[in-house]
Symmetry: C2
């Protein structure tokens, strides 16, 4: 089969479509013919050599895709079934082996391409905001990087669940995009200090910046507030004021989806399909595909994400 391969380890954009072995199925895996793969920040970091796949998982880049089951292996699935796939790797390819617990149905109202653009964001956002932080109707939620793939999904999920949503982004254009998705409070981080605007406001914060935002995030949390960090794009370390956290009983959580063991991923996928798929099928959460590239142009897709101009989701079409 053909798959995207990093030709030169020192050049993260040396991504070329080359001939590689088709994956061999392990017990409990199905072989999926990829229709489209979602592009995620982690893919870019993996190409930079900083985010290797967990042991035993595909070395090929790509954390999510959608497609058609080509070989159901030992599972009860059927050849021809249309599915979404949460992957530890392998999405940037013609075929991928997927543990059965990491398959989702295709939402009835979405194309397979659109499905490829919601799986990772849905599982990431739901596992953190729903399963971990336990957001409830009426909660105030701050979402950093509101215009990105994760952020735009999170805005819609929070609004569908009856939360008030504040977002940060770096341009008026991006904030307008967030507003169109339902965000209530818009903060341009280049012009405003979010902790001044939202002092002790947030019940939950979903953060992708990490260290540099840590002190401000703590100031922004309300009593019993929870900070959930899912990426450290600004740096891994920060100063934490435990003294400030104590009287308000705050908590800081940091997670990744990719490093979890397969049974935990299966649990997350099942909970996401149960709780989030109905919100997609009712139209309350829409896929936000804003750019598509042929699979062979993966490097261009990474350039586009890295430019910082992108809002919403980028797809590779196989």
């Amino acid at each position: 089969m053909k798959a995207i391969t990093l030709i030169d380890d020192t050049n993260p954009r040396s991504l070329e479509l080359t001939e590689v072995d088709t994956p061999q199925l392990q017990d409990g895996e199905v072989l999926v013919r990829v229709t489209a793969a979602g592009v995620n920040r982690g893919d870019i970091v993996q190409a930079e050599g900083k985010y290797p796949p967990p042991k035993g998982e595909s070395e090929i880049i790509g954390l999510e895709c959608a497609g058609v089951i080509e070989d159901p292996g030992t599972t009860g699935h059927e050849k021809g079934e249309e599915v979404g796939c949460l992957l530890a790797g392998g999405g940037y390819a013609e075929y991928v082996a997927v543990p059965e617990g990491q398959l989702t149905p295709k939402p009835a109202n979405l194309t397979l391409e659109e499905t490829a653009g919601v799986v990772e964001a849905a599982c990431t956002v739901w596992s953190n905001l729903g399963m971990l932080a336990g957001i409830q109707e009426g909660d105030n939620v701050l979402i950093h990087g509101g215009a990105g793939g994760i952020g735009s999904f999170a805005i819609q999920l929070c609004k569908a669940l009856g939360c008030t949503v504040a977002v940060t982004a770096g341009s008026q254009e991006k904030l307008d995009y967030c507003k169109g998705l339902g965000a209530d409070v818009l903060i341009n981080y280049k012009e405003q200090d979010f902790d001044e605007e939202l002092k002790a406001w947030a019940d939950v914060i979903l953060d992708v910046v990490g260290g540099p935002y840590l002190e401000q995030n703590i100031k922004t949390l309300n009593t019993d507030g929870r900070l959930v960090v899912i990426a450290v794009q600004g740096g891994p370390k920060g100063t934490l004021s435990l003294g400030r956290m104590m009287p308000r009983r705050l908590s800081v959580h940091a997670t990744t989806l990719r490093a979890r063991p397969r049974p935990m991923k299966a649990e997350i996928v099942a909970s996401t399909v149960k709780n989030v798929w109905p919100l997609i099928e009712s139209g309350q959460i829409k896929p936000n595909i804003t750019a598509t590239f042929p699979l062979a142009d993966a490097a261009k897709a990474h350039d586009h994400m890295d430019s910082g101009d992108n809002t919403g989701k980028i797809l590779l079409i196989a």
Copy 2:
């Protein structure tokens, strides 16, 4: 009535027994004649002017006591009932007004004096290790300051629940004391680095040091581990490595008991009585009264706690 009063705001040991007004009961409060009051670290910090009582609560020092109900007010309690009391303040006195939800029964096998020495530790330890961190049989728990009032209670609770317990303390004598309470792993923090001894070992850490231990605590946590900080005796701020937390899905929680609203305290007291009182009454958790002083000698009791030589619980006898 007589109560301990800070005579000179600039001298935290100017604690004298003086004549003050007996507390007026609010709706839902009972008047308790104090038999004994527990001494806590927070009392010392309050005398230093750094830990004022929550608004509307007694200005008198003292976070726990036991005694006899003198006036049940509007509640269904009866005069003469022997009770333990979780207090926001007021324990260093002949009488104290106590919200009904913050009363505990006297454990059948304990004296009233012994009861005064378990209420605050039981509620603090259970609310953090049981209700918040959710410790389970088989968990590895690290308890910093294992020989103190909180620490010695926490060791016994964790052992009673089937956990493996590591402790830190600053002398062999204190470590021997912890071992006598059931601690499995003993670490002298003056001679050993606990994060070297217990790398990625702990499912839960109960910490009273705060900022200076933050980086080491994170290194000590196992996958899905929880750090619970209930005091910052070493300083309020530290460096947090979110990058290190993410792949192992760690969380940091910081809480105080005193600042919580009364309904939340009532919930904690009820859960503590339900889950911990049976372990006291079966003898699995023992009160560790190691020093008693007459109420008039509160300053001496504070000296004793501050000396650092103390293990277990200090009481004032009214």
